[in-house]
Subunit: 285 residues, 2 copies
């Protein structure tokens, strides 16, 4: 490829499923001259190098590598993002674009926009390419292909940074969608956080004798409950209000269905199941 | 194959996904000398013949073919099963084994055990190989492979019929599980009927703007909502009490999660999500 790479050097902090996949996609598509990875675990750095996710890496954040990066991506669980961003700010003096990939945005975006020096252009990201798997071994260069990748815009955001970060996700195969942090948290609570809690609750209902009867319908419906409990707890804690609202809407809908099932209300059941099918059909398989 | 076929002639009433797949599996595996299909639609009979599901068929139940069948399988939606069984009884005079494949068993089993002459050995079945698809075009000879196939046993059941019907499902690749009709309805409400209603409710929660953010987690979690609304309404109507109970357990669990999310109860969230993951893991992917 003779095209100029999108970035000179990208630093990725956290080399799990998302960080590792981003490194692999950047290198495979030659979108950055150099990809640097940070992970507390030496073994993860070794695997990330072996899998072609990073050129080099370090177990600690270091000013040399951060200082020569025009893009820094924090790919760690939600609760740790603000602290890591502040550390990165302390270790650098240059201008660069910073983004994160956490599944909740409100708290993180407001903490980072207020707490970072003006030379750091922060824009939040959330590539919705999650999976129930995790870690560098599950990562892949094609991970973001076709995935909606949310980029948050606020009054404080630099338009250049919004467009650079959107270009990043487009370049790795994703579909950038620009939203405010508030919109993100509301919509994502409905389409991602709620399904996770629903799957967890659904998994807990059947008595043990029912397990051997589980077929594809049950395993599909509960697959996301395989996700990392620690990360999902952090998601619940950092988007608590919107998730509680989505749970309320869900419980209200279930209460209606329960009433119609108990009352054998054929007409309302038929109509509501038909409406659900039409809505689900519009999303494809 | 020189092995003696399991059945001389099998009549299948209803050539949808289950009936059609059963015919294909019986013929492919040479488990019956002859497979006869009944469907009100001429076009379905033609497709079933073309797809190798039946040797011959008829748009109306006819005494000639039913009278020479040692196994009759009713593969129509739950509400229609008792009526069709009574018609079959009127049209025949010989001894044979009768089963159905409906997803609810209590009402059907008690109606059929009381309403049929003693020469007809009825045993209920429920092959849990459903899918969100339906119709003869979606059918396949491998449809039952690995699927739990429930066979109901009551005080009135003939042990020979239970073992013949169990042998049928084993022969087409399924895993027969013998339960009482009551056990069936309770366990299946938890592992199949509840997930369907949950998926329907989950599909209805997101506002329209959230649709373009739907990723694999949402589509997996709601896939079963693509199922036929008419059939699922009949399932709700014929297993109303157990489904309402399962919905209550599910709503209780969701209320707990909602309380912990709103109260940011990290410990309980972490513990419950961990418990759900362990339980889900034991079921495989």
């Amino acid at each position: 490829m003779t095209q100029r790479p999108l970035f000179h050097q990208v630093s990725i902090v956290g080399l799990g499923l998302i960080g590792g996949s981003l490194g692999m996609a950047l290198r495979r598509r030659r979108l950055a001259r150099r990809v640097i990875g940070f992970s507390r675990k030496e073994a993860t750095l070794r695997r990330a190098k072996a899998r072609g996710a990073i050129h080099d890496g370090c177990t600690e954040l270091c000013p040399e590598w951060l200082g020569s990066s025009d893009l820094v991506v924090i790919a760690t669980p939600p609760l740790s993002v603000p602290k890591i961003a502040r550390e990165i700010a302390k270790l650098t003096r240059h201008r660069f674009v910073l983004t994160d990939v956490a599944s909740t945005k409100g708290g993180i975006v407001s903490a980072l926009e207020r707490g970072l020096p003006g030379r750091i252009s922060y824009v939040g990201s959330h590539p919705m390419a999650g999976s129930e798997r995790s870690g560098i071994e599950a990562a892949g260069a094609k991970f973001f292909e076709g995935a909606p990748c949310i980029v948050t815009r606020t009054r404080r955001s630099s338009p250049q940074a919004v467009s650079r970060v959107s270009a990043l996700w487009r370049a790795v195969g994703g579909r950038p969608v620009v939203l405010t942090a508030k919109e993100h948290d509301r919509l994502v609570s409905q389409i991602s956080h709620l399904p996770h809690l629903s799957a967890a609750a659904l998994t807990l209902v059947p008595e043990s004798r029912a397990a051997r009867l589980a077929a594809g319908g049950f395993t599909d419906s509960t697959r996301v409950a395989l996700g990392d409990p620690q990360m999902w707890t952090e998601i619940c804690l950092t988007n608590s209000r919107e998730i509680a609202r989505s749970l309320d809407r869900f419980i209200d809908q279930l209460q209606l269905l329960r009433k119609w099932v108990a009352g054998k209300d054929r007409t309302r059941l038929r109509r509501t199941l038909g409406e659900a099918r039409r809505k689900r059909k519009s999303l494809g398989r």
